[in-house]
Symmetry: C2
Subunit: 418 residues, 2 copies
């Protein structure tokens, strides 16, 4: 198979299907989602058999336990995919929404209409459930999709792709509306991210190194999700009870997630009162503390933080702690080290809250709430394709709306420019 030719063919077919999808009624798209769910349910044996082969190959090739776990399909995970499809079918269709429709002095009536982006390329690791997850969001938002999953999951993804194709056909949509790249050749990725004629946007899902590699080589715009080095700043004017609850929750609710707090900043004037209480909670939960000199003068079990710690996304029970003189130093520290994902201030002071919200340049900025809320479900997007750390196009949790664009529409009754 000549990879470039093959990928170009996928691209051309995707572009054609995208035109059909762009004008497909919500009911048709929902029917397709539910038909795919039914196909998955009917094909459990095939899916599990294909996945068993992937798992066997994975073991032979020495995949570690964590990767094998993510690769594995079982009945519960198939149920999860089916449930996901039903949830996306239940979401409101963003396509066709018209807003800001009003008259201009010339007499034209001007508004904006929400439309699909066109063709979306998704690149992800060996988690077969992402195939359904990504395909369903793209389909609902009226976009054609080209999916390139990790090579270890190729047989599982092909089995899932067969269900998707049948479901699309059932609903009267072209089966090329969702295409799974049918080769493990790495050149396919290189082609996918550079064929700007056929692909409108790339969404990589996976670790930071995957995303950096793709962004460096892409000629198509990329919705990037780099790291989440999130901060909580406890201000002089914090309610100390709220501060303890938030700093506990933001760190310890889940460790391996991008919206977990990785660095805690505490105003000097309240550090003596609050740090011992927090250190006790963290120590009980086996969170390793790495701090600045001043924090170590208060709690001697805190390990000395290095420069590297301030920029680190641990994704683990480790926390860096810095005592700062006040809000100015807190904002300066965040500006220097944050990955611009999510930051929260704990304060009862109106002015400081306003300043923090205005001056901290992150995709989510919070007052008196846990960073863990930065999430598509918590924000009411229904589902998310990722969390963007970009400023262009989509920022923060990206749901259906982030997979669309707006065009200008003009209604007239014969107006011309004078």
């Amino acid at each position: 198979m000549h990879i470039k030719t093959y990928m170009q063919e996928l691209g051309i077919a995707a572009r054609q299907s995208s035109r059909v999808l762009a004008r497909a009624a919500s009911a048709v798209k929902n029917n397709a989602l539910l038909a795919i769910a039914a196909q998955l349910n009917d094909s459990r044996h095939k899916l599990l058999a294909a996945n068993a082969l992937d798992m066997e190959n994975g073991r032979t090739n020495g995949l570690d336990a964590a990767l094998l776990d993510r690769l594995e399909l079982n009945d519960e995970r198939i149920d999860g995919m089916i449930e996901g499809l039903k949830q996306v079918a239940a979401l409101q269709d963003p396509v066709g929404e018209i807003t800001d429709l009003g008259f201009r002095p010339s007499g034209i009536q001007l508004g904006k209409m929400r439309v699909p982006l066109g063709v979306i390329g998704i690149i992800y690791e060996s988690r077969p459930n992402v195939t359904i997850d990504a395909a369903s969001l793209c389909l609902k938002s009226g976009n054609a999709t080209i999916l390139r999953g990790g090579s270890e999951a190729i047989l599982s993804n092909q089995a899932i792709a067969a269900c998707i194709a049948l479901g699309l056909t059932d609903a009267g949509l072209p089966e090329t509306a969702v295409q799974v790249v049918n080769t493990t050749d790495r050149d396919a990725v290189g082609e996918l991210i550079t064929m700007a004629n056929h692909v409108d946007i790339i969404v990589p899902r996976g670790g930071k190194s995957l995303i950096e590699r793709i962004s460096a080589d892409a000629r198509v715009p990329v919705i990037k999700h780099l790291d989440g080095n999130c901060h909580v700043y406890i201000d002089d004017h914090a309610d100390l009870q709220k501060a303890v609850t938030i700093a506990d929750n933001a760190k310890t609710h889940r460790y391996g997630v991008c919206n977990a707090m990785e660095s805690l900043l505490i105003a000097e004037s309240v550090a003596q009162r609050i740090l011992p209480q927090l250190a006790e909670i963290y120590t009980q939960k086996n969170v390793e503390l790495r701090g600045c000199q001043k924090s170590r003068e208060i709690i001697d079990s805190i390990i000395e933080a290095t420069e590297q710690d301030w920029g680190e996304e641990y994704l683990a029970p480790i926390l860096s702690i810095k005592i700062v003189s006040g809000i100015d130093e807190a904002i300066a520290h965040i500006t220097q080290y944050s990955s611009k994902h999510t930051e929260s201030i704990v304060t009862e002071d109106f002015d400081r809250g306003r300043r923090f919200i205005a001056e901290v340049d992150s995709s989510s900025v919070m007052i008196n709430a846990s960073t863990r809320f930065a999430d598509g479900f918590e924000y009411g997007l229904g589902a998310e394709i990722g969390i963007s750390t970009d400023k262009i196009h989509a920022r923060g949790p990206v749901g259906l709306e982030g997979l669309t664009s707006q065009k200008w529409i003009v209604f007239g009754d014969g107006q011309i420019r004078e």
Copy 2:
């Protein structure tokens, strides 16, 4: 001068100033705009002297008359720049606008706040007035700017830059909020469009070849304005009087603009009635007509159109004409040949209007209005930095809002994730 080091220094200074600008009050930004206007007014002699040297060099280097015309400054053009600054000062500041603020089931209050993008790089040809035009929009939207104008205008741009620096200082803003690249070395452009750490977005202003070249090499997102091959489709159900007026205005109101009609599609059933009338108007105005076989059977003075004509942006008194069987063929033709800038249908039929609006994938889609309305001023944006033919981020006329992003904001009173 080592270009890479020099550009990196500009970038670092721009990033620092961007933080000051991002939190600058509207009044301060407006004061700066008006102070720059005052400086321009006080520096007329210096501006004209610097420009005279550029013009002399331009003549020596054999610049053609059109380029010399665009390069020239005179009192009227300086008045135009001053007036532009005052108009931008009068526009509403988009920064800080909070929308969609509402409560989520968790009790957090979630909204979106409009914020500047950060640092904007503008690359343009030898038109000194663009220096003020671009700088003022970026400044008002709270962004730091690095401006790289055409080398023929370097002395004029330096003189304008001196006025900008004084105006910024007068208003208490850092003078590095707007920086003009002080070298004609082409490597400066290469550096500007690849230093993604320091620059958030690039806006090239100029011809298609400039924009294509920059887009191909950029590692920073680019707001692209490629060609405007705009279509008007006169439907079977058109009001013929509106059709004539719109097809006349869209072509002949101005020829050298991106929102002029370049291709006219006419439904077969009305072609006999409407084409002779239109051909007479166009012929009187010396518009050259190039058409399909069927159009030439109606009007024999129409020249035979080649395949290339359908994709061409003439920017001249030339029009391509195609007789189509109806709306399906019209949409198919537009899908194949349009540059996705602006298209208009003339019809009295509700369903066909709706279909055209939904199915034509262009940045502006119109019913019964001239394509000439696709313009930042007509759309009420107050001013525009360009018209984007991209789908990502900003689409169509780009005003202050297109130079901003939105971040999520969360207000709580101690909420944590359960």
